[in-house]
């Protein structure tokens, strides 16, 4: 027992002193989980000796535990025995219980061997705050924190000074240092409310959403490429912007959840709710040649299951893919039953389904163009006054002279000896079975005494042929000649070719380009009539007996030769001659568009509006989204034996993990049901997991350190009551993240100074008790954004496609992909780190060095490191040099003397004024560089150039480089 008191671990000490009953969750479960559950736990496959220790009844039945009688309990006998054959855990496992652990088990059995449900699976209840009176602080967070500090013999620090609080809270809420305006306003107001007003302002800024989107995008495994070998680009930044927007609007977390997991299944979903489902389309796709789409579709669906449970419940289901969880109550069946819900979407390792996802601005443009179009069309419907009269009088002319006149009297010279007959309508019919190819000379009579301006060739669909499959026609070349009555021929040049339809790469101009290999054709629309029109370059004036001779080359082969067709000419002006199938029937259209001024204008405006709509629609990004398969195409889900997708076991239907009950009968039995259940009061985990994540962002470590694991293998919460209090607050305050943040950052715990001492470090090395303010290195994005902000370079623009700030040459060398990194030269060079293009197989190196992930899988937390490679980035990377250059410019302009200039730079970076001694030291560097560059103007110039400057003071650039590399700069104060 004496040995036990050596244990300074919280809880254990209390146990050792015998003041408190043994707690199963706090004391016993960790021992059983560590040593026993792997073989005697929940996984029935792995279970040895038919003994299950995670279930009280089973353990008592098996004789392992006899409540009240440790010495009669087999469990104790087996862990203390000297017999190498029967000792547990087995001797060869290298694992053995310590005497302390054995003692705890003994006492637990003696006290009745009570079991408890795992702490995190209990619903959270608002803990009593009745001890408030004993505390000074008005803030509940501080009561819980102080309670534990007191027990450990520690006290919290005094509040940090005002400027430190300002910089800390600004970085925490927006990821940026405070702006000049915010600093001024805050410092000018020394009332109690100044800090709270500042917090409100920060929470209301756009930068808030940008900053808080970052950890969420880590969870969403957001990236701009698809991953694996080809790692091709994926346009999904609209989803990133959706997250920013949702956070800025403070969308309640339950809604935030439902829209991302199942927005498409909501009744009448908005485009934004559909866009939100891109959350689960961030899974990777494998475009490598020869890969099996089903294999990677399955991998993506599994990733969705794992990610969902990780993100919302802080549980790991990954291992249940292959076997039941050894520690948490999740069976393999549970896994595939949840999988069944996610196994019903259309996507299958391909880009589809994707939908247009216009930005707000594009939506507005769309709307205004549509409105304009409707207005114009309505105006056209109404028709201006006098229209009817004008139309009637104009139409008359066609009674005498039709728009097109079919030519008669065909004489055909065919290489294949074909002959033609003309019917009453003027249509020419080939009389024989079509040859493979042919070239014709077709002569037709021209109407006399009328100017002829254009030629029209009209083809009719061919009847089914037994010989030729393809109903298409290819006119390789068309030439025209005028034959005068005296038999003279005169070549007629054809211009302005146009057709109602042309096949791709077989456009109608190719029929008159002089190249017999090209031509006009109309697949895949050959089953319809088509027409082509050619103007004569000069109108012809035939006289009686004049003829038109056409050379029609049709040498494609496979019978693509004209069969039933018509040749007409017109006497009207070219712009009246539209390549339409029924020109006479469309006279009204002609009148409106080319003759009658008031409607011409309207039509032009309609046309231009349509063009704008088309252009806009083409520019709208298309985002991959989730879409449920129709009822008839639902997939059957079978268990994958040992996780192998080819080895199918029993069929399962959708359900939530059985340890958490079942979906209510009235709930939708699909993803939407899952999403609603995640945020329902029935779910004990979601709110805890969410507030813990927010806490970890602010304090560096979560109340539950293993943010990714709230299961029995995870760490216990350092402050269980505080965690529950926050969780209940969060849920009861409408799931508002802004409110939650405000609550936390207004606490004394958050606002205290970060100063520490050897004693505090010894007693609370990782600040798990909050005996001092949170102080840790800024995130990859913050390091970058801060440097850009304090140097005045930052481009503040919300959202848009991802950007490519400078990265060293040659970093991108991806297999078989022609993608290239092009350093931005416009203001996209200085966007926030959040917007940097993220290629999964080759992430932006400077960010990676500062622990940012690659977006390959859901990243619950970034493990902070402190490495020499980080120093090289902020010392030498282009962006930090350019920031130093820009900062130096501001310094130079801000003062007369180097000292003033440096003081200005210091406070720009760190917000606080420099102390004299710090200025002395910085001036010293300034002088050292003065000395270094004194005789080396060339080198000085090159250094300026490295910092992106044409001219300036290289000494100040060197000082700025120092300022941007200070520990204090890189750290949240």
């Amino acid at each position: 027992m004496i040995a036990l008191t050596m244990l300074a671990l919280t809880g254990w000490l209390v146990v050792a002193q015998g003041e408190e009953k043994i707690s199963f969750n706090q004391h016993v479960r960790p021992i059983l989980a560590k040593h026993c559950f792997a073989c005697h736990g929940f996984d029935e496959q792995a279970r040895e000796g038919d003994l299950q220790l995670d279930d009280r009844a089973a353990a008592i039945d098996a004789g392992a535990i006899m409540p009240g009688a440790p010495e009669q309990s087999e469990l104790i006998a087996r862990v203390v025995t000297d017999d190498a054959d029967s000792i547990m855990p087995p001797a060869d496992s290298g694992d053995a219980l310590t005497t302390q652990e054995i003692e705890i088990l003994r006492r637990w059995i003696r006290e009745g061997a009570g079991y408890q449900q795992h702490w995190a699976f209990h619903p959270s209840r608002r803990p009593s705050t009745s001890q408030a009176g004993a505390n000074q602080s008005p803030h509940a967070i501080d009561w819980f924190v102080n309670e534990r500090l007191k027990a450990a013999g520690l006290t919290a620090n005094e509040p940090a000074d005002r400027i430190t609080q300002l910089r800390r809270v600004s970085l925490d809420l927006t990821g940026l240092p405070p702006t000049e305006k915010q600093i001024q306003a805050y410092l000018a107001d020394d009332s109690e409310k100044a800090y709270e007003r500042l917090v409100d302002e920060l929470l209301a800024s756009d930068a808030y959403g940008e900053h808080w989107a970052r950890p969420w995008l880590d969870l969403a495994r957001y990236a701009d490429t698809k991953g694996y070998e080809k790692d091709r680009p994926r346009i999904i930044w609209r989803y990133r912007d959706w997250v920013i927007d949702a956070l800025n609007q403070d969308m309640p977390f339950d809604q935030f959840t439902i829209e991302q997991l199942a927005g498409d299944l909501l009744a009448d979903p908005t485009p934004d709710q559909i866009l939100a489902t891109a959350f689960h389309r961030n899974t990777m796709e494998n475009d490598e040649g020869g890969t099996d789409d089903e294999e990677f579709r399955v991998a993506a669906v599994k990733d969705r299951v794992d990610t969902t449970i990780q993100v919302w419940m802080g549980l790991t289901m990954g291992c249940a893919k292959c076997h039941s969880h050894k520690y948490d109550p999740i069976s393999q069946q549970d896994y595939y039953r949840l999988y069944a819900f996610f196994n019903q979407t259309e996507d299958a390792d391909r880009q589809q389904p994707i939908v247009p996802t216009p930005t707000k601005q594009q939506q507005q443009q769309q709307q205004s163009l549509e409105t304009e179009l409707q207005t114009l069309q309505a105006e056209l419907q109404r028709l201006p006054e006098g229209y009817t009269e004008a139309w009637q009088s104009w139409k008359k002319q066609f009674d005498d002279q039709p728009l097109w006149v079919a030519l008669k009297g065909p004489q055909l010279e065919s290489e294949q000896q074909l002959t033609l007959e003309q019917d009453a309508e003027g249509v020419l019919h080939v009389q024989q079975e079509l040859p493979e190819k042919d070239t014709w000379s077709l002569t037709l009579a021209l109407p006399a005494d009328q100017e002829v301006t254009a030629l029209r060739l009209e083809t009719l669909p061919k009847p089914k042929s037994t010989k030729w499959q393809d109903p298409n026609v290819v006119i390789n070349e068309l030439q025209a000649e005028l034959i005068t009555p005296d038999g003279q021929s005169q070549r007629l040049k054809l211009v302005r070719p146009r057709a109602d339809f042309s096949q791709r790469n077989w456009e109608v101009p190719k029929a008159i380009d002089g190249d017999p290999k090209t031509g006009w054709a109309f697949s895949p629309n050959a089953a319809k009539p088509h027409a082509a029109i050619f103007d004569f370059e000069k109108a012809i004036k035939p006289t009686a007996g004049s003829q038109l001779r056409l050379k029609i080359v049709q040498q494609y082969g496979i019978g693509l030769v004209l069969r039933d067709f018509k040749v007409s000419v017109s006497s009207y002006a070219s712009d009246w001659l539209l390549a339409e199938i029924h020109p006479q029937a469309n006279l009204k259209r002609l009148f409106q568009r080319t003759v009658y001024e008031p409607t011409i204008k309207l039509h032009q405006r309609i046309e231009s509006t349509r063009k704008q709509i088309t252009a806009l629609n083409q520019s709208i990004p298309k985002t991959p989204i989730m879409r449920e398969l129709p009822e008839t195409r639902r997939r059957e889900t079978k268990i994958h034996v040992r996780g192998n997708f080819l080895d199918r076991g029993d069929v399962v239907s959708g359900a939530i993990p059985s340890a958490f009950g079942t979906l209510p009968a009235e709930a939708p039995q699909n993803r939407l049901g899952v999403a609603q259940w995640l945020v329902s009061p029935k779910n004990p985990l979601t709110a805890r997991v969410a507030v813990n994540r927010v806490w970890a962002q602010l304090f560096g470590i979560g109340l539950v350190e293993t943010e990714e694991d709230f299961g029995t293998q995870g760490t216990l919460p350092s402050h269980p009551k505080l965690l529950d209090w926050l969780a209940v607050e969060f849920r009861d305050n409408g799931w508002s993240q802004k409110q939650l943040l405000k609550t936390i950052v207004l606490s004394d715990t958050y606002r205290q100074s970060a100063v520490t001492s050897a004693a505090k470090i010894a007693a609370d090395p990782r600040n798990r008790l909050y005996s001092r303010g949170p102080r840790f290195r800024l995130s990859a994005e913050e390091v970058r954004d801060q440097a850009l902000a304090v140097s005045g370079l930052l481009t503040e623009r919300l959202g848009g496609p991802s950007v490519m700030p400078p990265q060293p040459d040659g970093v991108w060398k991806s297999t078989y992909s022609g993608e290239q990194w092009r350093n931005a030269t416009d203001d996209n060079r200085y966007r926030r780190g959040l917007y940097t293009y993220k290629k999964r197989t080759s992430p932006y190196p400077a960010m990676l060095t500062f622990d940012a992930g690659s977006g390959e899988v859901c990243q619950i937390r970034r493990i902070r490191t402190n490495t020499p490679l980080q120093a090289l980035v902020t010392l030498n990377d282009t962006v930090y040099l350019e920031a130093a250059g820009a900062l130096a410019k501001h310094m130079q302009a801000a003062g007369e003397t180097p000292r003033e200039q440096i003081a200005h730079g210091f406070s720009r970076v760190l917000i606080r004024p420099a102390q004299a001694i710090e200025l002395d030291r910085l001036l010293m560097v300034y002088e050292q560089f003065a000395d270094l560059y004194k005789d080396q103007p060339e080198q000085a110039k090159r250094f300026l150039k490295s910092a992106g400057l044409e001219d300036g003071d290289p000494r100040l650039v060197a000082v700025a480089n120092v300022l941007l590399n200070l520990d204090e700069t890189l750290t949240k104060p």
């Binding site: 490598e288 060293p808 402190n866 490679l869 090289l872 001694i917 300026l944």
Partner: protein, 499 residues
């Protein structure tokens, strides 16, 4: 005293004054004590006696054909150009083969070499001379038959992205022997990074400090951001680092955060790396004989390294890989724990130019085999061979059938084989591995006949040789004690091939 000296003295005074005012003693902090070495108070339960100190892993990305290099199959040659029997096709998934392909006899000539009498092809004339040092394992098999997942499986133990590389595991367990260099270095050649990209040397769920550091040999900084900007001299950098350190110490004195001290140390280390890394990376310091041994050429930057499609530029005399081999020796000599080489361009499908068994494979061999033989010879001469484990191989093997999706019949420059996961050759040497062949495939090299070796076995053996018990070595993540060799006990140390 000239002006400059006066200035220096004045500065020295200022600095002294700074320390006096700040209440700091010069050099009060022993930097070395703060360095990032994992302090191993107690010997962890997974640590076992090590045979090797370092690992050099030579990965031929794309996967070389075992049937043209090490696995001699006369029967296959007899069946050349006949249709593949159905039993080899039914129920099988191939990346590219469709329908019934023809058998493809070896496109190389084999002879027995060395005292062990191992069969080696004419593409490997230099390697044949040191063949007795190699343990050629002809019976490796894998679970994956596409590049990216197979490479990930080989190096991270998982075919999906997001798991730590073998080099990360090793440096996480054992740390680095040289505090001026990263413990896990990656070198690449062949003009492209391997299919799975940088994820192959990512640290997955281990702290990022254990990720592989890619040292570049194509003319840029050997380590990204290593060079000072143009116009910033080493003397100038010294001054800035001193200033940063002094101000940080002052900060530390007021705040007391130990991370500040670590940061001071890391800046100092970065300064030393700036000097040390280029020195180690400079193979120009090697003797003529050594360069000749490898076929290395200091300063050579291959055109292929910046080409969109480097395969068209493959020529036999490209020394990039040779340079990397020599560098690998210099790195392990300087205490780098794990050196990973990737050479791209071994995916010989025969479907487009520059990727054939008959034309490209001999060129890739010429680019690499002399350097590998040189590396072995060099390590032996320096007494480093026994403590350095060398591993060679691809991510899978190649089919005994000809790939038929582009050309149905043999065509010069377009003879190819598809991916083959069922049996392929890798070899290990040095680091406590015996020489001689291991394992036997069937008559046509399709299946394993005896002594199968899984990727898990290889991983277990590699960890074992470096002094890590592969079964006990783990990291808690996602509710599991994650291990390189995976969650099950199927992987085993190949005791039969240990010296």
């Amino acid at each position: 005293m000239n002006l400059s000296q006066k200035l220096q003295r004045a500065q020295a005074d200022t600095r002294r004054q700074f320390f006096a005012q700040a209440g700091l003693g010069l050099g009060a902090i022993a930097l070395s004590s703060l360095l990032n070495q994992e302090s191993q108070a107690a010997k962890p339960n997974w640590q076992i006696p090590a045979k090797a100190k370092n690992i050099i892993y030579l990965h031929m990305a794309g996967s070389p054909s075992q049937l043209e290099l090490f696995d001699h199959k006369p029967t296959l040659s007899r069946l050349h150009n006949t249709e593949c029997p159905k039993e080899y096709l039914e129920g099988k998934r191939f990346a590219f083969i469709r329908g019934v392909p023809k058998m493809l006899g070896s496109q190389a000539q084999f002879k027995q070499h060395g005292e062990s009498g191992q069969w080696v092809s004419n593409h490997l004339p230099n390697l044949s001379k040191v063949i007795d040092d190699l343990c050629v394992i002809r019976t490796v098999h894998t679970e994956q038959f596409n590049h990216s997942p197979a490479q990930l499986f080989m190096h991270t133990g998982n075919s999906l992205l997001g798991y730590p590389a073998m080099g990360s595991w090793v440096t996480y367990g054992l740390g680095s022997e040289n505090e001026n260099l990263p413990g896990f270095v990656v070198l690449s050649s062949g003009g492209k990074t391997p299919s799975a990209g940088k994820s192959l040397w990512g640290s997955g769920f281990l702290p990022t400090v254990y990720q592989g550091v890619q040292c570049r040999t194509d003319g840029g900084d050997p380590i990204l951001f290593l060079s000072n900007p143009d116009g910033m001299s080493r003397a100038g950098r010294r001054k800035t680092i001193d200033a940063i350190a002094d101000l940080n110490r002052y900060q530390h004195q007021h705040i007391g955060d130990p991370e500040t001290l670590t940061r001071i140390a890391q800046y100092e280390l970065s300064f030393r790396m700036q000097m040390f890394v280029p020195e180690v990376m400079d193979i120009g310091k090697e003797s003529k004989e050594t360069l000749e041994l490898y076929g290395a050429q200091p300063g050579y930057v291959s055109e292929a390294e910046s080409a969109a499609d480097p395969r068209r530029l493959y020529k036999g005399n490209d020394p990039t890989f040779a340079n990397n081999c020599l560098l690998a020796r210099r790195l392990v000599e300087n205490g780098v724990r794990f050196v990973q080489l990737y050479d791209w361009g071994w995916d010989h499908h025969g479907s487009s130019p520059g990727e054939s068994i008959d034309e490209t494979l001999p060129i890739k061999c010429q680019q690499t085999e002399r350097a590998i033989a040189g590396l072995i010879t060099d390590l032996k001469q320096r007494g480093l061979f026994d403590e350095t484990l060398i591993v060679w191989g691809g991510e899978f093997g190649r089919t005994p059938m000809m790939q038929n999706n582009v050309n149905k019949d043999l065509k010069k420059g377009f003879v190819g084989r598809d991916h083959h996961p069922h049996a392929f050759t890798m070899w290990m040497a040095g680091g406590g591995i015996r020489g001689g062949a291991y394992g036997q495939t069937d008559d046509i090299g399709y299946y394993i006949a005896e002594n199968p070796v899984s990727v898990r076995d290889l991983q277990a053996t590699i960890l074992h040789q470096i002094g890590i018990d592969p079964h006990k070595f783990s990291f808690p993540y996602q509710g599991l004690q994650q291990r390189l060799i995976g969650p099950t006990e199927e992987g085993r140390v190949l005791k039969e091939i240990l010296a």
